[in-house]
């Protein structure tokens, strides 16, 4: 283990430069974010990820945000285990009828001020799964959404661009 750790000291970092926040996301957020809430939370946001029915593709790319290339924590974001510790709910999936109540209760358990980011084409409007008996539709059908990050799934850079917009809106 020592050898591996030592070798890594000598290697250049893998982390990519931060992307600019997404213009589209900034526009969507601009109207919604409360200045007072922003000042109170500063630049450190705790994220609770909620899979409300996704195919797990979005989860794979959200996981990738934590790898050395994207290193989400350098921006002050970190994933937390409980909605009670969260400022941001990162919600994926066409909300299934079977997950609706769990999503509502997770939202209710998240203290104010809070933001909801709907991830993926499914999170926007149900995506390919829209229209069936088992899906309610996009996340906004169930809880208020502050930001959409589209894609099937959005890649980590697109996720970063969207999340950075949360920090940038002044």
């Amino acid at each position: 283990m020592r050898k591996l750790l030592f070798q890594n000291l000598l290697r250049l970092p893998l982390t990519v430069a931060a992307p600019a926040p997404s213009e589209q996301a900034l526009a969507e957020l601009g109207a919604k974010l409360d200045q007072v809430a922003r000042r109170r939370l500063g630049r450190s946001l705790a994220i609770r990820e909620v899979d409300a029915g996704s195919c797990n593709g979005c989860e794979l790319e959200i996981h990738a945000l934590n790898n050395a290339f994207y290193d989400l924590e350098r921006f002050g974001f970190h994933f937390v285990a409980s909605p009670r510790h969260a400022d941001v709910l990162l919600v994926t999936g066409p909300v299934t009828a079977n997950m609706r109540e769990a999503l509502e209760r997770t939202y209710a358990a998240t203290p104010d001020p809070k933001w909801v980011v709907a991830v993926g084409d499914c999170g926007r409007d149900g995506g390919v799964f829209a229209g069936g008996y088992a899906c309610v539709g996009g996340v906004a059908e169930v809880i208020p959404v502050d930001l959409h990050i589209p894609g099937c799934p959005p890649n980590p850079v697109q996720l970063l661009e969207g999340l950075l917009a949360l920090l940038q809106v002044q």
């Binding site: 591996l4 195919c55 593709g57 285990a81 997950m99 390919v128």
Partner: protein, 506 residues
């Protein structure tokens, strides 16, 4: 009962025309029960059990002869003799049939609903689709009796970035005496959405049954369509498909090896494996245009040929992984504190693995050598030499090592595919069926064997399609794996299984 072979039993049924490549036969209730007994006897493996209005279907495999077949039982009165009564692996599938189609398995040992949580506007969406009667009574979990027991309910929303499902632990102190899973939370009604869908939309949907296995699902769907329509796929496409499949296996195994170790609080392994996984995803995006390789395989072939410098990109990827992966294997092998957590943890009896026909890494880490790339097999694997790593220990450690061996094997396969990649078109024109036809395919994904069965209308739209995830035969074994382990080892056991919630819930 097992004196007769699967072929003999199936020959007792009435063959259905236009079902390819294996036979499908209409059977009587007596033959259906004979099939159930044969499955229970252990000579055959249950590959799938699904229904449609008025008919139950069962797919089975006989490993000793390689016989594969589908038996269909007409159910004019809305019931069929329970297979799960004799063969437990069928139980959850039967509960799903009762929920989705409304066909009742008679004498089934477990009649509780499974996918239907009482939240849908309809009952039996794949059957009569009558308006729902509304909320169901609270789900009755299995009783656990004894002194000093306590229950730990977990989920559906879990603590990590993972899919939702409910786990009900009953523990005696630290030791788990029973785990009961309650799944179905991510049921998206995919089979209903597939009904009437055009092939292009259906391929996109099936490619999203479980996002991490999109290549395996797209391949199984494409092969089923091609079998049904008797379409010939160009050679070049076969080889590109194998390349896609091995890249998917590589990315997922690397992610899993890191994530399992991380659940034993060894974060260093996750950090390094996540970097290697990212390199695979980037190479995939460079060569196929999508990091997770979604929508790359289409009925008839693959969507696009490789860009010019792909061989170079992939060879560089293989070289990088061959340089970086072995030190990580050495790290795992030499870290006693980590192995202390993984060795002997989450043991599953090999007999149970065989009974459930549990495939993939869990099966092969528990002595069951089944690999759909070999049997039934499909091109180009029939022209590639590769070993099937099998281990017998059947614990978390074995499941890590199995993945390590398969990473090495996939690297070799990618090199061999690149060496022999033929040229030519990447997509053939699909034959127009002209009349209703049916197809079935079994494909080896990173998690295990994916089954897709479908029926197409004369105009090529989907009449009925049933994708069956390998997790159906793996989830139940997780309940067995955790027994007598401590609660704190559940994440480790669960991650070493890495079953799909979405693939199972459909």
């Amino acid at each position: 009962m097992n004196a007769s072979s699967l072929r003999t039993v199936l020959e007792g049924g009435r063959p259905v025309a236009g079902h390819r490549p294996w036979p499908r036969v209409i059977v009587t209730p007596e033959l259906w029960i004979a099939l159930s007994e044969g499955l229970a006897g252990g000579a055959w493996t249950l590959l799938g059990l699904w229904g449609e209005s008025g008919m139950a279907h069962l797919a089975a495999h006989e490993p000793s002869t390689g016989t594969l077949g589908v038996a269909s039982l007409p159910c004019p009165d809305g019931w069929f003799p329970s297979v799960g009564r004799l063969h437990p692996p069928a139980q959850r599938l039967e509960r799903a049939i009762a929920d989705l189609v409304g066909l009742q398995p008679v004498d089934a040992p477990d009649s509780r609903p499974w996918l239907d949580h009482g939240r849908w506007p309809v009952s039996h969406p794949l059957g009569l689709a009558t308006p729902s009667i509304g909320a169901l009574p609270p789900y009755p979990f299995l009783p656990v009796e004894g002194e000093s027991l306590h229950q730990i309910p977990v989920g559906p929303v879990h603590a990590g970035i993972i899919e939702p499902g409910h786990f009900r632990f009953t523990a005696n102190g630290e030791a788990v005496v029973r785990l009961e899973e309650r799944l179905g939370y991510v049921h998206k009604g995919i089979e209903s959405l597939l009904t009437g869908a055009a092939l292009e939309r259906a391929a996109r949907l099936v490619g999203r049954v479980s996002g991490d296995s999109t290549v395996a699902y797209a391949l199984a769907f494409a092969r089923a369509v091609e079998a049904a329509t008797e379409t010939i796929v160009p050679d070049h496409a076969h080889w590109l498909r194998a390349l896609l499949a091995e890249l998917e296996r590589l990315a997922n195994h690397l992610g899993d090896i890191g994530a399992i170790c991380n659940d034993a609080a060894f974060a260093l392994m996750l950090a390094h494996c996540a970097v290697l996984r990212e390199r695979v995803l980037r190479a995939s995006a460079a060569c196929f245009g999508h990091r997770l390789l979604m929508d790359c395989i289409v009925p008839g072939g693959v969507a696009a040929d490789l860009p010019a410098d792909s061989a170079k990109v992939l060879r560089a990827l293989v070289a990088e992984l061959r340089r970086r992966f072995p030190p990580l294997v050495e790290l795992y092998d030499n870290t006693a504190s980590l192995q202390d957590r993984t060795v002997g943890t989450g043991f599953v009896r090999p007999a149970l693995i065989r009974q459930f026909g549990c495939g993939g890494t869990i099966g092969r880490a528990g002595g069951r050598a089944f690999d759909a790339r070999r049997q039934p097999g499909y091109p180009p694997y029939d022209q590639l030499e590769f070993a099937t790593p099998v281990l017998d220990e059947s614990d978390v450690n074995a499941r890590i090592w199995l993945r390590i061996h398969e990473v090495e094997q996939s690297l070799t396969l990618i090199e061999r595919i690149l060496e022999r990649l033929p040229s030519g078109p990447v997509r053939g024109a699909l034959n127009r069926p002209g009349q209703p036809c049916e197809g079935v395919a079994l494909v080896e994904g990173f998690r295990g064997d994916v089954l897709v069965w479908l029926r197409l209308a004369a105009d090529g739209t989907v009449v009925r399609c049933h994708p069956r995830d390998p997790s159906w035969f793996q989830w139940p074994l997780l309940e067995a794996a955790i027994e007598n382990n401590i609660v704190a080892d559940f994440p480790l056991c669960n991650k070493s299984f890495n079953c799909s919630y979405s693939g199972h819930d459909l």
